[in-house]
Symmetry: D2
Subunit: 490 residues, 4 copies
């Protein structure tokens, strides 16, 4: 649950969603609607934003580094994007001026006319496909894996756009939720496993698509349904909607981390809010790992819902033992005679008067590198806490994600290197516990994980990747990385 703060994890001690997408067709002010919808998805990517629109004649694009609000709130910006169809994208991790090349939607003039695409996910054989395309004379504009899809469409020999797109996607492996715009209308589609989310809504005559339902709440649209795994939905300018399942129907594997960590607490998946799921995880944690304590203290803001669940289940009062600053931003010059850990203190300060002499249970959503957790435990002790117990609302994160979530390389993941006891020692807590994998599945509505045919992609916890990883296997680093001694799995 890092819905809260774009800066919290400046030291890379959180996992990050890489993208959010929004699209609208047959909407009077498609670009303004898309800007607002993207803004509601800002937690999915803070580094860059882009919108492309189509007015029946031409495509228009505007892209910028930074937040949606910095780039798409002026009347001038919106006026540059006329038309009744628009799609937008927010992304994490594009730096530098030339980085604008990688900001989506990507656009190309094909022989069939304009083609724009916004992509959430990651193509795990993009390098292989790209090398082949370049050998055939293709010239790439960006380093984005998404551009591979455009070149595959451009060089497909099928006659219709839908056929060319399906032809292209058959070659693609990995995770993708796409919003495509052509002069004929909008196509939304999701990879066969449905790893990344994509939802569909309506707003009068307009059809809208988004990564999460919260975008519909904010723009005032009504949620219709999820785009199904492997489904392509085509909407044209007459308002007709067609659904295709060109890849057949297989067992879906939506990302479980997505549902319970990345999405905003007020987004809904499968009929439940993310907030409820997180509270339920907190309750599971309290059942599985109770502790005798005076206060339940969330690590703000990511630990708040789970901490409420933990407190309600355990009867230990919920209190704000850590106060978060709303002004974090850049790193300050450290005064030579300054406090230790003032970096953490700038963001999180102990509520000293409350904590002093108390036994506290800290609740956070995950431990990635462990460095922030260690500093927070230390801060609690310096503020006078008599005991500090740490409870984590996810299983240990021991594997990298190759489907669109920014994870450190595996050797930097604390849980890939240490047992739980070693981790407890590292962060210097009095006790440490994680929710079990079955407890996690239970909190999101399953009885348990079906190990033969898991209901979700949980590779970051289990290492059980649902697709092949072609590029990774081809890279030299692969051997080392995949063979990393995994004593956690033991």
């Amino acid at each position: 649950m890092n819905w809260t703060n774009p800066f919290l994890d400046a030291d890379g001690d959180k996992l990050r969603e890489e993208c959010g997408v929004f699209g609208a067709i047959n909407a009077t002010d498609a670009a303004a609607l898309t800007a607002l919808g993207l803004h509601a998805l800002q937690h999915r990517g803070q580094e860059a934003a882009g919108i492309t629109s189509y007015d029946g004649v031409e495509f228009y694009s505007r892209r910028g580094l930074g937040h949606v609000a910095e780039n798409f709130t002026s009347p001038e910006a919106i006026a540059e994007l006329p038309g009744t169809m628009a799609a937008g994208h927010v992304r994490y991790s594009t730096t530098g001026g030339s980085g604008l090349r990688n900001v989506q939607p990507l656009y190309a003039d094909l022989a069939s006319g304009g083609f724009a695409v916004a992509h959430n996910g990651n193509i795990s054989n993009a390098q292989a496909l790209r090398s082949d395309l370049v050998r055939r004379g293709a010239i790439f504009q960006s380093t984005s894996d998404t551009e591979v899809i455009i070149h595959l469409v451009a060089t497909s020999r099928y006659p219709t756009m839908i056929d060319r797109l399906v032809d292209a996607l058959r070659l693609v492996e990995g995770a993708y939720s796409l919003i495509v715009m052509t002069p004929e209308g909008m196509i939304a589609c999701r990879d066969p496993l449905g790893i990344r989310p994509l939802v569909m809504g309506r707003m009068g005559d307009a059809v809208v698509f988004a990564s999460e339902t919260v975008a519909f709440d904010v723009v005032g649209a009504e949620f219709t349904r999820e785009v199904e795994p492997g489904e392509l939905i085509r909407v044209d300018f007459s308002g007709e909607v067609h659904s295709l399942h060109p890849f057949g129907r297989h067992g879906a594997r939506p990302c479980i981390f997505e549902h319970v960590y990345f999405s905003r607490p007020d987004s809904m998946f499968a009929g439940h809010t993310v907030y409820e799921a997180r509270k339920a995880i907190g309750q599971q944690l309290a059942i599985e790992n109770p502790v005798d304590a005076d206060l339940v203290v969330p690590v703000p803001d990511s630990g708040v819902p789970a901490a409420i669940g933990y407190a309600q289940q355990s009867g230990v009062p919920f209190e704000l033992g850590i106060i978060r600053s709303h002004y974090v931003g850049r790193t300050f010059i450290q005064p030579s005679d300054g406090a230790r850990h003032s970096g953490v203190k700038r963001k999180h300060n102990a509520n000293r008067g409350l904590v002093q002499g108390k036994r506290i249970v800290l609740i956070d959503d995950s431990i990635v590198r462990g460095t922030t957790s260690m500093k927070i435990v230390e801060m609690m002790r310096e503020a006078g806490a008599s005991e500090v117990h740490f409870r984590v609302a996810s299983p240990p994160t021991a594997h990298s994600c190759f489907y669109g979530v920014d994870t450190p390389e595996r050797s930097k993941l604390l849980a890939a290197r240490m047992s739980v006891e070693e981790m407890r020692d590292f962060i210097k807590a009095d006790s440490l516990a994680f929710v079990s994998i079955d407890g996690l599945y239970r909190a999101v509505g399953s009885a348990r994980r079906d190990n033969g045919s898991p209901q979700f992609c949980d590779a970051c916890f289990t290492g059980d990747y649902p697709t092949s990883l072609t590029d990774l296997a081809a890279s030299k680093g692969e051997a080392a990385q995949l063979s990393f001694p995994d004593h956690k799995a033991a």
Copy 2:
């Protein structure tokens, strides 16, 4: 408690602190320390920031619009501010380029050498003093009331700097917490009523001053004591500290709003955290105004501590029924077919799945104009709440502040125009209640308000101003404003 979000009240529906100050002397990296300290006080003023330093030979200044982090985090910025003494200031409400003239610390070359001052408060006879000075040939650089103090010092005929400063302050009426720098050292002082706060700390050999203790936590200093009302503390470069009370000792009247609303919850006043005071107000509210409900829902983030107190006292569970976005910023272009109130929804979204069919108690810290409260009540109803009760953790705010808090003119204050029942009707809640003035005093540790000699400045609630208001009385608007029919007081 608007510690949380600089943008929340873009529509002016919150009261705002106008300034924060920080100073350090005999510190190795005084400017870096001051930048960090100011950053911890950022909630006290987001529009502009300035730091002035002194290296034993010259004074150096750097000022900028925007946050401390935007102006004082680069090594170049800090390198421009050498020396072991520095003071800084954050302020609300300076707009435009020329506005830089009003950004503090203000500095002047006097015959005695450089003179810099950072001021938190408001001088209520500044216009009268300024007119008189201009008649005598003074040329003002800014429109800041603070500059009056400098000219009074510059034209005082007393021989020493301390005497000149005391001479100047004797003419000044209103609220001031000052940090002054001269070639001899630093002087911190507070007006005789101690309306605005100022605290003193130590950090090795360095002496530090700040508006709130949280700045000491962040920089790693130890809290020594509050600067007393009417006290001048002089610190020189040999480390000697002298205290003066040139105005005698009178009954203090610190701002009660400051303690329980503006300051960060982790700041301490009179031995208690602000967080505790706010929880206690919530408990008082629950005692004075109970309601039969399913959920206690804070208006984020300002209502959170009081809501925790209300929930603990009443036994009704605390839940996040409203989710706040962390990406608010500018106003978006409203799509023509967009949702009503998407402005509010961009900031606050109902946690629909949780709220539906529930009786909820909304808790906020104050009602100013009432427009936001009305929209939030409506949003709760649209999300399916069956009953919406509103509880406010302060008495009705019916009077403007003239001591450094940015309040709308009185006619815009909802409580100046309406009875509680009319206000309930305006915001369309099922019930509305405010904590009583005695309940408020009780929550901050007094048995009740001593009406003959009140322990705090509570003029915003009571209209009982502790000083004369010379400039206001001289202005034409005064008659109308002061005689505004005050049916709230009836």
Copy 3:
């Protein structure tokens, strides 16, 4: 000769060169050298500049809108461009942020490795080639005609880079002087007619190429020779230089306007300075069109060398009757009670005390739309000149250029619409005369124009285009444009 002032022709009343190129290989600081060389070619394009370098491993690019000095003088900028090979480009007429896409050198990752190209000229069948490439799946990044060359190279089936480039250029029609960089070295080439210039020089071990010799003077290189029409020169990192003539050798047709108008007066072509050529044209003008007058006054700065020639030939004294401001830049808001023509006066002011009562001969290099000429004649009369005779150091410019010179559409060219007498009437001069086409050829060293096989491209004067104009013929506007009644030719 618009070497003088980038702003003079803000109203489009001058022809403009579109590009300049510079390249260096086996140079210690190739990028710094290229920046300096480009700066010397700044008069050939002021809107944007770019440099690409290669350090034996990777290519590096930096591009910016504005002048070379604004983009390539900081140590940081140069440090971003390491390596011993670099090429750069200045261009006229790229506007807007997205315009950066069109700033050269263009770069692509081909299967053979990196490929960068800087192009001076214009491909007159670019649209036709582009359509065909897109039909085959190529995706274009820019709207530049130069990108066609890259895609042709990328999709060529020949094995070596030189063969692929020759294969590509065989399909290309029009004018091009190219500097190409690949991991094997640098290739400089010029179209078979040699329409645009390109010269080669040496500087120690380094080989350098540039549009004009003045770049060699400035960087300190020695001029070796011109790149011949239709020649490809390949230089590798061992210093070997190979010359190819893959297209055979045909009659060259270098641009005569280039030599006598665009290039800097201190550049040399065919053994003579441009300054000498311009003086010789002035002398021809005086021989062909003498006038009884008191002063010869150049229109600054473009008319200066011809005016010196005219004055020396005629014996009428050369005087600065018009003073040019060095600070022109943007258009000012016109005061409602301001002078007429203050726009012209901001740039050129009559030297009133000198001109009053005198018969003057104004000398300029060309008349394009005629509006500036009209204003200058009027300004001379207002300053008291008794007679104003206008002499033009070129034949009437009656046809558009399709080879890389920015000309207004034909209907805007004064000489395409009017006879000389009508033009005289339009600009309100007492007399008007142009140098004859044979006089022009004589000034640059030929006895006369060989009408059967002209020695130069002089299409802008004669309408005799040396290549087919495929794209123009395909466009709808062509019929109208080419059939424009040409009473000048009558």
Copy 4:
């Protein structure tokens, strides 16, 4: 004559005017008119520009670093400056952000209302006056000497504004041409010696003032007369014009350097254009210092008019042997294997084909440090000139100016350190000669210098300063500087 190039003297090898002023009253668009007028005076100061206007109620100011065109061409900028009275200022040598404080017009709110002043000149007892004012409690906003005048006015005890201004100016010593604005109208005045220029014009109902007549040409105003030395001209909003001579009438001493070097060639002084004066100096030079040569070559652009005069007088042809680039700007990174003196070559390149084998006479307007002259002589020789003779259109510049012209400290002036023969040796010319002081006076219309009562301020040549230099005498450096051994005067 540095009317030509703002960048030419980046290495400090030219003298520079420090300011230009323009004012207009009773003009419909006073600010737009002032912007245009200032633009025509841009050669008098390129670092910063400011305009202040008055609309009958309030004063408005806008100031910026850089050129007039960069700051005052947008409709928004002009719209910020409403009213029928405005004055503006361009200045040389203000750097850095805080430098905006020194950009004029300076403005202050006095007891009598607003007071704005634009000043061309330098007050030679500013430090002494300032110290006294600060002792009496005045607080200065800038480091500008001009602010002294405002404080003297603010603290004057006279009843009317004119009396207070005269009271202030009586205390001031040095050079000043002032344009003052108050709510009653505009006051233009000039110091008793009239050292700096100031002219008056009309434009319909409007009265305008400017440093040079060229501003009137550009805005379309008619020149009325010069403001006389020691005269105050007051213009009110009814259009009435009053002239005062409060200091009596003494012998004037206008700056001779101003007339013949700084001003634009098309400006007029005492009935003659500056261009004519410069040509006449060239003729004097040819008479006093003839030389047997092939070409007269001006150092562009400052030497052009004198070179025309020299050529006409001597019969040696005038030729552009040096070509100046119009794109100079910043310093480029020097390539390690680059040409020597590429810095000079970026600005000035030898017209090699013309110069080779020729005996040339170089003409420049002055020699300051001598470094540029040396490089230009060397460049001529490298280009093949067989002899290089240097002629200078001013006497040797051997003394600093304290009246508003930016001169290097005296020890940096070549003529203060060397005899003419030593200077010739330093710049490596075959011969070197300067115009004589009497020749200079003759060229501007006098028979010769009246040594008993000189007609001009020529202190930079003669060391004969027409006022006392109080601040200089008080400074420690004075002794050393004034006693610098002056073998030139011998």
